[in-house]
Symmetry: C2
Subunit: 263 residues, 2 copies
């Protein structure tokens, strides 16, 4: 297995002649192996990717892969997963400017493009039960979820730390987005991504609005957010589409008189 | 390991003397071992439960546990999980009578009581990364999710098969309930279960209402469901609480004139 130290000579000796036209630095080589692994893990379940596949995809020998990743497939998978997680976290970064739904929509576009690009690997990872799934891979996935939560909360102008109700609502939505991504892959990538994005933004608005009824902090967030929305934005469209459907509920708004009058 | 056949003599020989006061049938013994396993797996992560623990909890010898479960802990865990899954699926059964939110609330009460009772095991299973997690355990968990979906859809008076938009919306909510359960355990079982249940019912209403804006089938379901609600039920309460918060959005309902008039 070696001590993990990699010399240029090691590398050159191990590289298959066909593609050994250029000497890569250790960092470049590592990155090249990771990229090869990531593109394989993206489109196949990890159980269906062998180290030979990775070596072949990178145009290097199997021993070279082991020299960089002495822990073998498990280590390579975790490293590829960490790379993917960092890429995913970068999707969440969005300037704090304009209506919240537009910011959310842009971040979702990037996230969903990532899901589209890493389809099989994304499913395999999140559906669990893989032999390469460990508490470490679970921790990496969990960090991405926490990052999504933190990014979303950072766009809310909160006077104080986010309370459990607001946090729970946002975390529930983050999980629902994950579920929707898996369902989308499961249904052969239907509906089109634009529609899925709009649907997820609308679910966000609906979930936050419902939670606002129970939590003053969430209510404040909703009021602030609404002030930035325009009538032709997603919230206006949602309101115009949904109100006719729930018009019947209007009779409930007056509600029972204190003491329970009949309606 | 044997061939899995268990005779009464085998069992009596292997039972520890302290509790061998009664001869159990094969089925009773199997059930007793499963119950012992389930109560251990409920409150500890599977990695922290040994076969010795199970034998001790059931008051039998380790070889007897192996005679019933020759596959050892993995087999026992899967059998216990299947038992738990069946119990969980029974929580979902609810007469098709009265407002939908009340039916949903009752089923949620039973589901959340189950989560409360199996806390550590529930977290460990759904957070993944356990050494006893396999594609089979994942399939069991997935069957429970599908059962929840089927139960909910069976309460909707659908003229035709549920379309992808309605199914996706309900599946997203089912996943959000799972996430909320994990968050609830993670937050030291706060807020009280009654409040969590109400919050989840309200999220269901909000998610379905938002989806109704895009999908005629969902809109039909929402209209039918609203007709069964009463002003002092969860929907009326939700409407009264949320409307004041989103009153600002009213200006958006008129929306842009066709062709995009200014507002």
């Amino acid at each position: 297995m070696g001590d993990g130290t990699v010399t240029l000579r090691d590398m050159t000796a191990a590289v298959s002649p066909a593609r050994a036209y250029r000497r890569l630095s250790v960092e470049e080589r590592r990155r090249q192996l990771l990229d090869a692994a990531l593109s394989l893990f993206a489109h196949r379940a990890p159980d269906e990717v062998s180290l030979d596949d990775v070596a072949e995809a990178a145009g290097v020998s199997r021993p070279l892969v082991y020299r960089y990743f002495p822990g073998g497939k498990q280590q390579l998978y975790e490293a590829a997963l960490r790379t993917a997680a960092e890429e995913l976290e970068q999707c969440f970064a969005e300037p704090q400017d304009g209506p919240l739904t537009r910011r959310l929509g842009r971040a979702l576009d990037r996230y969903l493009a990532f899901v589209d690009e890493h389809d099989a690997g994304f499913s395999a990872l999140l559906q669990g039960g893989s032999v390469v799934e460990t508490s470490r891979t679970t921790a990496i996935v969990d960090r991405v979820r926490r990052s999504a939560l933190a990014h979303i909360l950072s766009h809310m102008d909160l006077g104080e730390a986010p309370g459990p109700r607001l946090r729970t609502t946002v975390r529930m939505w983050v999980t629902a987005v994950e579920a929707a991504s898996l369902i989308w892959l499961d249904e052969g990538k239907q509906p089109p991504l634009d529609e899925l994005r709009d649907l997820l933004v609308e679910q966000f608005v609906a979930q936050l609005a419902a939670a606002a009824g129970r939590d003053p902090q969430t209510a404040e967030v909703v009021r602030d957010a609404l002030a930035l929305e325009s009538p032709d934005g997603p919230v206006g469209e949602l309101a115009r589409r949904v109100l006719p459907v729930v018009a019947d509920a209007a009779r409930m708004v007056a509600g029972p008189a204190p003491g329970g009058g009949a309606h």
